[in-house]
């Protein structure tokens, strides 16, 4: 039963990933793509947590932790580039 629920959740997350990916390719402006990139990194955290659940290993969570703390840096760098602060 729980496995079935995890399957559904993974399906929805995959769909969200594809939608964000679509926005990443479509653009049109650079800021749109960066917004999509931001959403993709955050979806990534959920994906890693799902993989950790499926494999049953707590150590994978450390990777998600790194993402949670560092992913915003990439967005900030690009944002600073866009507003000509770099």
């Amino acid at each position: 039963m729980v496995e079935f629920l995890i399957y559904i959740a993974a399906m929805l997350v995959g769909l969200a990933f594809l939608l964000a990916l679509y926005r990443f390719f479509k653009g049109p402006s650079a800021a749109d793509r960066v917004a999509a990139f931001d959403v993709l990194t955050i979806i990534t955290i959920t994906v890693i947590v799902l993989v950790a659940l499926v494999e049953g290993r707590a150590i994978y969570l450390d990777v998600a932790l790194i993402y949670a703390l560092l992913s915003f840096l990439g967005v900030i760098v690009v944002a600073r580039y866009l507003e000509r602060g770099l």
């Binding site: 793509r33 990534t44 560092l70 992913s71 760098v77 690009v78």
Partner: protein
């Protein structure tokens, strides 16, 4: 549960290939760099699925982080050269 992991791998592989194409063929340079960062990001998730969290962590900290910063630092310094070497009418072919 391995079916789930395989399906995830499929989605991620497709995302990676398309991101790589954007990085190579994309119109503007910042977007190409961002797409390369996306390739790293997806690669890191694939490494987690392939049971190598050490590599995934390295890729997360370095690949999708530091190297993107390096690119944008340099790109911010050489803004004038962003469109150099593109095939526009009038430029000679090498």
């Amino acid at each position: 549960m391995s079916l789930l992991l395989t399906a995830m791998t499929l989605v991620l592989c497709i995302a990676m290939i398309v991101a790589a194409f954007v990085a190579i063929l994309g119109k503007s340079l910042p977007i190409a760099i961002l797409a390369a960062g996306l390739v790293s990001l997806v690669a890191s998730v694939l490494f987690v699925i392939l049971a190598s969290p050490d590599v995934a962590m390295t890729e997360a900290a370095i690949g999708s982080g530091l190297s993107t910063f390096l690119f944008f630092f340099v790109l911010g310094r050489v803004r004038g050269g962003e469109r150099d070497g593109e095939d526009e009418p009038g430029s000679e072919h090498g």
